[in-house]
Amino acid sequence: MDKHLITRGVQRSPFWKFILWILPWGMLLGWGLYGAYLCLAEGLNQTNMDNRFAFGLWIYLDLTVIAFGAGAFFTGFLLYILKRHELKSVINSAVVLGLICYSGAIAVLMVDVGQPLRAWFTFWHPNVHSMLTEVTFCLTCYLTVLILEYAPIVLKNRQIRKIPSYLVFEFNLHKLMVVFAGVGAFLSFFHQGSLGGLYGVLRGRPFAFREELGIWPSTFFLFILSAMAAGPSFILLTTWLVEKLSRKRLVKHETLSYLGKLSGIMLTVYILFKSIDTLIWINSTSPSSGFPAFEYYDRAAFGTWVLFAEVVVFGLLPALLLLRKRFREHRGWLITSAVFVLAGVALNRFVLTIQTLALPTLVFDEFLSYLPSWQEVATFSLVIAYGVVLYSVSFRYLPLFPQERELAQSY
């Protein structure tokens, strides 16, 4: 039925199957839209956030997906600037993932702020000392870049490419991709960092506050590193997932294992610095502001196990696994460690966003709990559903994996 839209030489499941797959996600999407609508129309009283828990599920989501989306800029950087051609076979997929993550994050942010119509004030009266300003500027720019990177892929669709003007434009745009890759890398570097800085600068929240290196708190750099570690793993995982779901080989194993290696290296560096940072924080930064660090882990909910899980189980362990060729070659190990890497980064973002707010500051504060309302969850799942749908459509109608055709023949 939609054969004439599908790239030549690749096999795609019949249309009805595709619809069956999309349908549930579509419904989730609808539900999410309703939730988001309520939050916009009725106000944020629809959420379970409050004056004490001013950030909730959404900010956590933003930080996490943006970390995962880092694959787009990192791969682009390696491919176009450092000319690592083994990544050519995943770059398209990476770009789509990046686009999904970033557009999703920004959409949620627009629901999260109380006055979305005033969002442009940030550009109009920017406070250049605020991490959030940095984030806003970089995100908007980078989203534009991602769209420009996504456009050529769309134009490569079998029907669209038949239109000469599009194809010619795509052709020329693609020639300039190196510029976008460069800009993307530059922007990402800053907003990934600023997202870390977001909490690192909170002097009033010694659990999150970190000493400054130059003009940025250490979390600025930790976030960049952890994002660089998460990005490749995310691409790796999604690619593997798509292969499983579509029952096709899409990329050579070398590519996946190379992604794993990247992840492993970045993660090792990250964990190293993270550990140093943690030690400094526990022994100096926190106590000097009147907060004995161990008290943070007094709470039943957040014991020291959190720190252990973050640094060792989901940090050191996958790092070591990914550094060893033997494990990388083995699919099972590769995928497992990728999952661990992502879990680690997700946990890190959770600790920074949620635990920071749950912990008391004043002596007579209570330890707070927070459970998102269904509207928040809906808006959250809106992004997930939107991502799945956009990716599925892209995978079906656009040449996401250039190697697919070749691999199909080399069977």
Partner: protein
Amino acid sequence: MLPWVYEFRWDLGHIIFLGVFYSVVILIAFTLVRALIRAIRDFKNHRVDHIMWQATFEDLPTPVRACRHELSGEVANRTCPNEFDCRECRTHELFLRKNPASPGGTTPRASGEEQLFGLSFPLDRYYDRGHTWVQPDKDGTVKVGLNDLGARLIGSVENVQLPVIGSRLEVHGTAWHVTRGGADTRILSPIEGTVVEVGGPGKGWYLKVRPEGMETAVRHLLRGAEIKPWLTRELERLQFALSADGVGMSLADGGVPVEDLPKSSPKTDWDAVWGEMFLEA
């Protein structure tokens, strides 16, 4: 945001931050505009067909992009860097100079039948990778037609859209379209020139074209000893393409394709097969 907007301060922070931001924005905009301008320029210079072929070529699997000198065994492994256009290819010239006997340099015989795997591939003409042939005439024009394999792949087509007389063809631009059932494809033009007469499936040739400068116009086309190794690969590819979609149709009797493949196996996804064989993405 801007110097005269409330809250703007002339401090280092503002200048650096906004400076960087504006440069990024300008860079993005500039690059975009640049791409547009280039695109327009390409249109002006009629490079559309060329670019379309180039884009297609990039998406072709590596084995298909093999250099003619790899086919002829002169070099072990070489992928063509200029989209099968040897006219300006320095390497091609070098090969010819190094080895005058190189099949790439020969000119077709005056006449003669040639049977390859039960397909007729007369050696009196040039062949293009898009399964077309070019036969020069005395009057300086050339006939362009589908080769035997191409003809059998297409079979008795329902609908052929040929270019109007006087229209211009680019090398590996679109020569004509054929459609049959759900399948459609464009046939790559093997040669550059002006259409002077149109034929069709019945006539045995499709187009009469007047090229500029015969010698260079056909330089990139396969000939003589180059044909067999290429055809061998093509038949392999065909075999695979047919088996790929699971209908399990195979080339009939001892590897000789039947007259009208589509007729003999209607279940096969001919759109895919055509795309594969006529080098369409």
